[in-house]
């Protein structure tokens, strides 16, 4: 019988701990696939965040380190500066990257640190049970915004990709989603490019992945994927926000 699908080799053969319908699993696969395609498992070091992906260090078969909440870009900087021939990536959620770790994120981008960041934006704190995130939408009901996110008292969501694209530092910023086949295919291309950029010495690449959290959104997996199209993408439009090398080619 023909094998039409197999797990990427750099993804450990374990049962993931993520909730049913959560799209972390897809994103893990895309990252591992990129590592396989580029043949870099033996030279890659991954940085796991604090959040739902905290145990990602078990899932990727490359060397892994677990960082404190928000500090993954700083840890990645240390790893990369120690041996620039290695490929270093971080895998972070929205609370980790855009709230407590915003300074580390912005400054790693400003330095054009030659690392790859996979930023999973599902507009909520998952692991701690569904609190408001810096990317939670206006009006979004969470455990800590039980009446809906009130922008008068909690401010507005942060569009990380747009914000980082204003900096001169970073090489490549793209927002993708993983809620349908077409989007997953685009995400695969973007993630692979983010690793390629690092291998080619181009610098900081961040892929923001719009991801589903059915459990904490209180939706079925199918409804959650639809909610991405209906609510998330209108606020967080997909696309390339910065691609320095492509800009140069155009000029």
């Amino acid at each position: 019988m023909a094998v039409i699908y197999s797990k990427p080799k750099s993804l450990a053969d374990l049962q993931l701990h993520y909730c049913p319908g959560c799209t972390h699993g897809i994103i893990h696969r895309l990252v591992a696939q990129a590592i396989d395609d580029l043949g870099i498992e033996g030279t890659t070091i991954g940085v796991a965040p604090v959040g739902c992906a905290v145990m990602a260090y078990d899932y990727f078969k490359c060397d892994m380190i677990e960082a404190a909440h928000g500090r993954a870009p700083a840890v990645a900087t240390g790893l990369k500066r120690s041996d620039p021939s290695n490929v270093v990536f971080t895998y972070q959620g929205d609370g980790d990257l855009a709230s407590i770790g915003m300074a580390e994120t912005v400054h790693a981008a400003a330095r054009n640190e030659n690392i790859t960041i996979i930023f999973v934006n599902n507009a909520i704190y998952g692991m701690t049970g569904g609190q408001m995130a810096p990317t939670s939408l206006p009006g979004q009901v969470t455990q800590t915004s039980p009446y809906g996110r009130d922008t008068n008292t909690t401010g507005f969501p942060i569009r990380v990709s747009e914000m980082l694209a204003t900096l001169d530092g970073p090489e490549y910023i793209e927002r993708v989603a993983v809620n349908n086949v077409k989007n997953v295919k685009n995400a695969q291309k973007a993630i692979k490019k983010a690793f390629e950029n690092q291998i080619n010495g181009k610098g900081f690449s961040l892929i923001e992945v719009i991801s589903a959290c059915p459990t904490n959104w209180g939706l079925t997996p199918q409804k959650a994927l639809e909610w991405i199209d209906e609510k998330m993408i209108p606020y967080y439009p997909l696309g390339v926000y910065k691609d320095r090398s492509a800009e140069k080619e155009v000029k």
Binding site: E41, Y57, M64, I65, E66, A68, A74, K80, R81, S82
Partner: protein
């Protein structure tokens, strides 16, 4: 013997670190330790090393964690408020069992405090500092020569025991210049099979981590770590004993205040008072044994320190409260004078006559 050069204490730390094979320095500016960063910024690019000014102390210590995870010798330096910010990262480094050097050139606190010398981070340095059960090896230089020698020693200890080591200095020793004979060039000789170097597809992946959701496993790692700490307490205590042979009063003091105390002790001896000094060089592990032995011979201890009596507690524990422990201190950036220490010695001497 190598030629002696005149150097600031802070510069001696930096040069000694480089000679110890440290090629990665990550820091953030704060007075009074900036000479270390300035020295590294100048030297590292010329020796294929890395100097990086991070966006915060928090980031700097996490960069240290990243480099440490690859097994290379790495350091950061800061002063009291900055060291507070680094505590989270230090706890992770301790919990992940990776070696690193953290230099604290102390200044007065709490809060923003001041920029003049202090020893008031003693508790923070010796009792953990961050969250969780852990220790740092804490070395306290009292001269520019020791700034260099103990830096060199610190890297070896960090590698040997896979743990963070702190050099606990103060603004005076950091800023002063003295002749110093710089240590020999060396590199790490410890094998680091745990390091994140990339699997090269030749081994299972290494994981550097401090998360153990399995409580039994987390307990086990704590017990194991404290077994290592026990070895350190047995093997790595360092102290200096000065005029203790016939001493009836024992001054205990480290760093700059130990030097002030020596002046006072020499003067007290001239006046016929039998007083000596135990100078802890490691404050963790604390030199408990020599203090316990002294407790049988002396009538009192005097803790001379630039804090409200933080080391005093360790002296009481070490001497098992067999003898009174008096405090002679200045704080807030003030340094005790030899006259103040002498007056305390005379007072304690008189109290028993």
């Amino acid at each position: 013997m190598a030629e002696k050069v005149l150097m600031k204490g802070n510069e001696a730390i930096a040069e000694a670190a480089i000679r110890s094979g440290c090629r990665h320095y990550l820091g953030y500016p704060i007075t009074p330790q900036t000479e270390i960063a300035a020295y590294m910024a100048k030297r590292m690019p010329k020796i294929n090393g890395v100097f990086l000014q991070a966006e915060s102390e928090i980031s700097a210590i996490n960069m240290v964690y990243g480099v440490a995870a690859t097994g290379k010798r790495v350091m950061t330096s800061s002063s009291s408020p900055g060291i507070s910010l680094k505590q989270e990262g230090i706890s992770y480094i301790a919990g992940s069992d990776v070696p690193a050097l953290i230099v604290n050139v102390q200044r007065g606190g709490p809060g923003l405090g001041g920029i003049q010398p202090s020893q008031s981070d003693y508790f923070q340095a010796t009792k953990g500092g961050g969250h969780g059960d852990y220790h740092l090896i804490v070395l306290t230089p009292a001269s520019v020569q020791e700034m260099a020698d103990l830096t060199s020693h610190a890297f070896d200890l960090a590698d040997k025991y896979r743990m963070p080591v702190m050099l606990l200095a103060d603004g005076t020793i950091g800023q002063m210049m003295e002749p110093v004979e710089l240590p020999e060039e060396k590199t790490s000789t410890v094998e680091k099979p745990w390091a994140l170097t990339g699997t090269k597809m030749q081994r299972e992946h290494n994981i550097i981590n401090s998360l153990y959701l399995n409580t039994e496993l987390l307990e086990k790692t704590n017990f194991e770590r404290f077994e290592r700490y026990k070895q350190i307490e047995e093997n790595e205590v360092m102290y200096e004993s000065f005029m203790m042979e016939d001493a009836e009063i024992c001054v205990v003091s480290f760093g700059i205040t130990a030097r002030v105390s020596k002046n006072a002790i020499i003067e007290a001896r001239r006046q016929g008072i039998k007083v000596g000094l135990i100078r802890p060089i490691t404050v963790w592990p604390f030199p408990k044994q020599p203090i316990l032995e002294a407790a049988d011979k002396v009538k009192a201890f005097i803790s001379v320190e630039m804090s409200m009596g933080q080391m005093l507690e360790d002296i009481k524990l070490a001497c098992e409260c067999k003898k009174p422990v008096h405090l002679c201190n200045r704080v807030g950036g003030m340094i005790p004078s030899p006259e103040q220490v002498l007056a305390k010695i005379v007072e304690v001497e008189g109290g028993k006559n």
